[in-house]
C-alpha cells in the first residue's frame, strides 16, 4: 500500500469534522496500539482500531469510511477504557459509522451486521419497542436464501421455550417515536442506502 499525502489532505476539513464529533484532537494519539491489543474482534479487522485512528491522522477519508472495522466493532468500550491518551477510539468508531452512512459508503461486506441494525431500528420505529419475531423475519427477508436457513434449529427451540414472543409489544405513543426518527435522521447524499 502506498499513501500519497498532500498538505490539503493531512489538514482536511473532514479530519477537523471527525475531531469535532470525537471531541478530541487525533494528534493526541501516539499509536501505542493498546486499543487494538485489547480489542475482542481485532482479528476480524484489516485495519485494527489504532490503524483507523492513523488513517484519520493522515486525513484518509475514503479508506477510513469504507473500512469494515467500524462495523465489526462490538462496542465493548475496552479500547476507550484503557486508552492512555483518552482519545476514545470507541467513540471514533461511532463517528466513522455515522459518517459512512451519511456519505453512503457503508462497507457491503458487512451487510449482515448493517441490515440487522436496520431491521432492529425499523422494528423499534414501528412499535416503539423491539418485536423480536418481526425483527428476525425482517432481517432474514432482506436476503432469504443466505439468512433463511441460519439458526433454523435454534429458532425452533426458542419457540418451544416461548421465545421470542409472537405478539409485538407497543408503546402507546408510537407517533412520538416516529417523530423522533424524523428529527434525528442522518442527513445523507441521495445515493445512500436507506435505513428502512
Amino acid at each position: 500500500m502506498k499513501l500519497e499525502l498532500s498538505r490539503a489532505q493531512v489538514n482536511s476539513e473532514w479530519k477537523r469534522e471527525v475531531e469535532r464529533r470525537l471531541g478530541r484532537e487525533v494528534s493526541a494519539c501516539y499509536q501505542c496500539g493498546k486499543c487494538s491489543a485489547g480489542c475482542p474482534v481485532a482479528y476480524e479487522m484489516f485495519h485494527p482500531i489504532h490503524a483507523m485512528m492513523r488513517l484519520v491522522q493522515l486525513g484518509r477519508k475514503d479508506e477510513a469510511l469504507r473500512s469494515r472495522s467500524q462495523w465489526v466493532c462490538v462496542g465493548c468500550e475496552a479500547c476507550s477504557e484503557r486508552c492512555p491518551k483518552d482519545v476514545d477510539p470507541a467513540r471514533l468508531m461511532t463517528v466513522l459509522r455515522e459518517m459512512a452512512q451519511e456519505e453512503g459508503c457503508v462497507n457491503a461486506d458487512e451487510s449482515d451486521i448493517y441490515d440487522f441494525h436496520q431491521s432492529f431500528l425499523s422494528s423499534l420505529k414501528m412499535f416503539g419497542r423491539v418485536y423480536e419475531m418481526g425483527l428476525v423475519s425482517h432481517y432474514k427477508l432482506k436476503s432469504p436464501i443466505k439468512r433463511g436457513p441460519q439458526d433454523m434449529i435454534t429458532g425452533l427451540q426458542m419457540m418451544r421455550r416461548g421465545k421470542p414472543g409472537f405478539l409485538p409489544h407497543r408503546v402507546q405513543n408510537v407517533a412520538a417515536i416516529r417523530r423522533i426518527y424524523e428529527r434525528t435522521k442522518l442527513q445523507k447524499p441521495a445515493d445512500d442506502r436507506d435505513s428502512d
Binding site: 486499543c35 491489543a37 490503524a51 492512555p84 483518552d86
Partner: protein, 686 residues
C-alpha cells in the same frame, strides 16, 4: 542632572525585525536626562560592549540602560562591562524588549511603542539608582550531601578530594542507593556492585567525610555559605562504636520473614526446602553484606522486643554489648556552606491504592498482585549475584526457570490517564539489558519486549540494544499491552504489534514491568525545607534547563542525579561531579560576594536618628529573621529608642519589610520607593 546612556540592541533579527530600533533610539535621545542613545546589531558582542564603554567616556555617562534581551540572560554581562569603565555596575539596568516585546508581538508599530515605553521606564529608574557595593559574607567550607546513592557518593568524593569537608546524610542503614541493587549495568555490562562498593569504602575511609546513615534532614536554616542544618539521627538501637559488624545478631534474630527493601520485596522458593522462601531479611539487619557502614540497625516495626516486649536474643548474642534498646532519636546540627541534594527516585508501583502520590494503578495488569508479574528492580535482584537466587533467574511463584519472559516498557510512563506524562528515560536501555542477561543465563529461553519507541540515545547505547535484538534474538514488538491474565500456570500477555498491524498474544512464564521512575514521595516536603522549586511531578527544578542544570534557584543549593529527573548512571555521575565542581568553586574563595539588593533601615544624625519608631512589624514579616534590634543612644549614652537593623548576611532582599513598613523607614536597595515610584510615574508619559 543625570546623564543616561541608552543602548538599543537589534539582537540580529530577533528584535530588529519587529521593533524599529533606530526610532526607539531617536525617541529616547530626546528624553530628559538622556545624554546619548544609539542602536546596534549585537550589544552583547565585543564591539557592542566597546560601544557602551566608549560612550561612558565620551559622554560622561552617570547611568546606562541596555535595552535588549531579558536581564536574566545578560544583566551580568553589561554590568561587568560598565564596571570596567569605573561606572558602578548597579547604575546599569536592562529593558527587556525581546522576550517581553519583539518575540511576543507581531504588530511592529505597537511593539515599537511598547519598546519605547519600556526603555523609558528603565531610564527613569536608573536616574534614581544609587551606587551599591557588593556584600561580602564568610563561607563555611563544608558541604552537606543529602542522599548516599551513586550521585551523593560521587559528589561527596569529588568535594572531599578537592580538600573540603563533607557531611553525608542517608536515610537507609547503608549508603549505596539503587545502584547497589543492580546486577550488571548497560551498555558495558560491568557488575554494578564491583564498581560501586570501592567508592563506598572510599567514603567510609575518607578523613574529610562524615557519614550519618539511618538519618534524615530535619531543618535547614541560613543562606549560601552559612547554612545551619538539623539532622535527625534515627535510633539505630545499635552502638556504632561498640559494634564490630560480626553479624551474630542477624544470624540469631528470630523474625526472619520481613520483606527486604534491598531485594525490592521479591522472594523465591528455596530449592533445598520448597516450604521455605529466600529473599527475606531479619528485624536486625544490614541491607547487604557490602553495606557501609557494615553495622546493623533494628527495624522497630518488626522487632519482637519492640512489638511484643520479649525476645532480646540479639543483645544476648552480641559479643560487644553493642545492642541498645533504649537508644532514642538524636538531633544534631551541622554548619555547612553548600548543600548537594541527591535524594534519588523510587520505582512506581502498579498496585491499586497509594496515599503519597496520585495514580489509578493498572487493573488490566492485575494491579501487580500476581507473583510472576514483577517490576524492573525486582528482576535486577533476580539477576544479581547478591540477590535471593544468587543470580539464577526463576519465577517467584514456583521457582521454575522461566522459558518465556515478556518485558513491558512505559508502565506508568508516558501514560496521561493512569500514570505520568513524562518518559522515564532508562527503561528502554535496562529492559534491553534485562533481555540480554536473561538470554545469557537461560540459553533456550525466549524474550519479548513490548515498546512504543526504542530510546537508545547515548554512547554505544543503540549498538547495545541492537545486540539484544540481533544476537540474543529478543523479539521487539511495537505496541502497548492491553491485558495480562493467568491461564494455567502461565500468564497470557495480550498486546499489539503496530508494525504488522496485528494483535499479538504471548503465553509467558514471567512478566517484567518497566514501571515509571518517580520522585521520592517526600520530595515536596524536602523542597519546602530547602526552599527550592520542584516541577509538577515533584522532581526538583534546576535554575536553568540548559545553562544551570545542577543549580537550584536558591543560592548554595545544588542538585545531583535523579531527584532532578530520570537519568542513567553516567548522567547521574556527571551531574554529581558538576555539582561538586560548583561547590568547590564556591569554596575556593574565603568570602562570598552577594548582590547588595538588601533591605536598609533609615539612619540620620541627631536629633532624627531614624524614621523607624520600633514597631518591628518588619521583624514579624521577615522570612529570614534578618531584622535585628539596635538601641540608639545619644552621646551621653542615654537610650533614645530601639529601632530595627538589617543583618545583611541573612537578608535575601525580598522587600517584604519595605512594603509593610508603616513609617517608610525601611527600604530595599536596588528597588527602593524612589526608584519604583519613578518607574510608575513614567507610566503616564505617552
Amino acid at each position: 542632572m543625570s546623564r543616561i546612556g541608552v543602548f538599543i540592541c537589534h539582537c540580529g533579527e530577533n528584535i530588529g525585525s519587529v521593533v524599529d530600533c533606530p526610532r526607539v533610539a531617536a525617541t529616547l535621545a530626546e528624553h530628559p536626562g538622556v545624554a546619548f542613545a544609539t542602536d546596534y546589531k549585537y550589544m552583547c558582542s565585543d564591539p557592542g560592549q566597546n560601544l557602551i564603554k566608549q560612550a561612558i567616556d565620551d559622554h560622561k555617562l552617570t547611568g546606562v540602560v541596555v535595552s535588549a534581551c531579558s536581564p536574566r540572560m545578560h544583566e551580568p554581562t553589561f554590568r561587568n562591562a560598565v564596571a570596567e569603565k569605573g561606572l558602578n555596575p548597579f547604575l546599569c539596568e536592562m529593558a527587556n524588549i525581546r522576550e517581553h516585546c519583539s518575540w511576543v508581538h507581531t504588530d511592529n508599530e505597537a511593539a515599537t511603542i511598547k519598546a519605547i515605553e519600556l526603555v523609558r521606564l528603565m531610564v527613569e529608574k536608573v536616574k534614581s539608582n544609587e551606587a551599591l557595593e557588593p556584600i561580602h559574607v564568610p563561607i563555611t567550607k563544608r558541604a552537606l550531601v543529602i542522599g548516599g546513592g551513586i550521585a551523593g557518593i560521587q559528589a561527596a568524593l569529588d568535594i572531599a578530594n578537592a580538600g573540603n569537608e563533607v557531611v553525608i546524610v542517608e536515610r537507609e542503614p547503608s549508603i549505596g542507593g539503587h545502584m547497589l541493587q543492580l546486577s550488571e549495568t548497560f551498555p558495558t555490562l560491568d557488575c554494578s556492585q564491583c564498581i560501586l562498593t570501592p567508592k563506598m569504602v572510599d567514603i567510609a575511609r575518607h578523613p574529610l567525610i562524615t557519614l550519618h546513615t539511618w538519618s534524615e534532614v530535619e531543618k535547614v536554616d541560613g543562606y549560601i555559605g552559612n547554612f545551619e542544618v538539623t539532622v535527625r539521627k534515627k535510633a539505630r538501637s545499635v552502638d556504632l562504636d561498640k559494634c564490630t559488624g560480626c553479624g551474630a545478631c542477624m544470624q540469631k534474630c528470630p523474625s526472619r520473614k520481613i520483606l527486604s527493601e534491598f531485594n525490592a520485596g521479591v522472594t523465591v522458593p528455596d530449592p533445598e526446602n520448597p516450604k521455605k522462601r529466600l529473599g527475606y531479611r531479619t528485624a536486625i539487619y544490614t541491607p547487604c553484606p557490602q553495606a557501609v557502614p557494615n553495622k546493623p540497625v533494628i527495624d522497630r516495626e518488626h522487632c519482637l522486643k519492640f512489638t511484643k516486649g520479649k525476645c532480646g536474643v540479639c543483645a544476648k548474642v552480641c559479643p560487644t554489648n553493642a545492642i541498645d534498646y533504649e537508644q532514642e532519636d538524636e538531633l544534631i546540627t551541622e554548619k555547612v556552606g553548600a548543600v548537594v541534594v541527591a535524594t534519588g527516585y523510587q520505582v512506581w508501583s502498579v498496585a491499586e491504592a497509594a496515599k503519597d502520590y496520585p495514580y489509578i494503578g493498572y487493573g488490566e495488569y492485575g494491579y501487580g498482585t500476581h507473583p510472576d508479574i514483577i517490576n524492573g528492580l525486582q528482576f535486577e535482584r533476580l539477576l544479581s549475584a547478591s540477590g535471593p537466587t544468587a543470580g539464577r533467574v526463576v519465577r517467584p511463584s514456583d521457582g521454575k526457570v522461566p522459558q518465556t519472559v515478556v518485558f513491558l516498557s512505559c508502565v506508568g510512563s508516558r501514560d496521561n490517564e493512569k500514570g505520568f506524562t513524562y518518559c522515564s528515560k532508562i527503561c528502554c536501555m535496562y529492559l534491553s539489558k534485562h533481555a540480554m542477561l536473561y538470554k545469557h543465563k537461560v540459553h533456550e529461553g525466549q524474550a519479548y519486549n513490548f515498546y512504543m519507541d526504542l530510546r537508545a540515545g547515548g554512547k554505544t547505547y543503540d549498538e547495545f540494544s541492537r545486540r539484544t535484538i540481533e544476537e540474543d534474538g529478543c523479539i521487539y514488538l511495537r505496541g502497548r499491552v492491553s491485558r495480562i491474565y493467568p491461564r494455567g500456570d502461565h500468564l497470557v500477555v495480550q498486546g499489539a504489534d503496530t508494525l504488522s498491524n496485528a494483535q499479538v498474544e504471548v503465553e509467558a512464564d514471567l512478566v517484567v514491568l518497566a514501571t515509571a521512575i518517580i520522585a521520592q514521595p517526600d520530595a515536596e516536603a524536602l523542597a519546602q525545607k530547602l526552599r527550592v522549586a520542584y516541577d509538577k511531578d515533584h522532581f526538583f527544578a534546576e535554575a536553568h534547563p540548559k545553562l544551570r542544570p545542577v543549580e537550584s534557584q536558591t543560592a548554595g543549593i545544588f542538585f545531583a542525579g535523579t531527584c532532578q529527573g530520570p537519568k542513567d548512571i553516567p548522567e547521574t555521575v556527571a551531574q554529581a561531579s558538576g555539582a561538586a565542581a560548583k561547590v568547590s568553586a564556591l569554596f575556593s574563595a574565603d568570602e562570598l560576594e552577594r548582590e547588595p539588593m538588601v533591605a536598609h533601615v533609615h539612619r540620620a544624625p541627631p536629633p532624627v536618628y531614624s524614621h523607624c519608631f520600633g514597631c518591628f512589624f518588619c521583624e514579624r514579616v521577615c522570612p529570614y529573621g534578618a531584622i535585628e534590634r539596635e538601641e540608639l543612644r545619644d552621646r551621653k549614652g542615654n537610650l533614645i529608642k530601639t529601632v530595627a537593623k538589617v543583618n545583611e548576611g541573612l537578608c535575601a532582599g525580598c522587600g517584604l519589610c519595605a512594603a509593610s513598613c508603616r513609617a517608610n523607614a525601611i527600604t530595599l536597595r536596588g528597588f527602593n520607593d524612589e526608584q519604583l515610584f519613578a518607574v510608575v510615574n513614567a507610566i503616564g508619559e505617552q
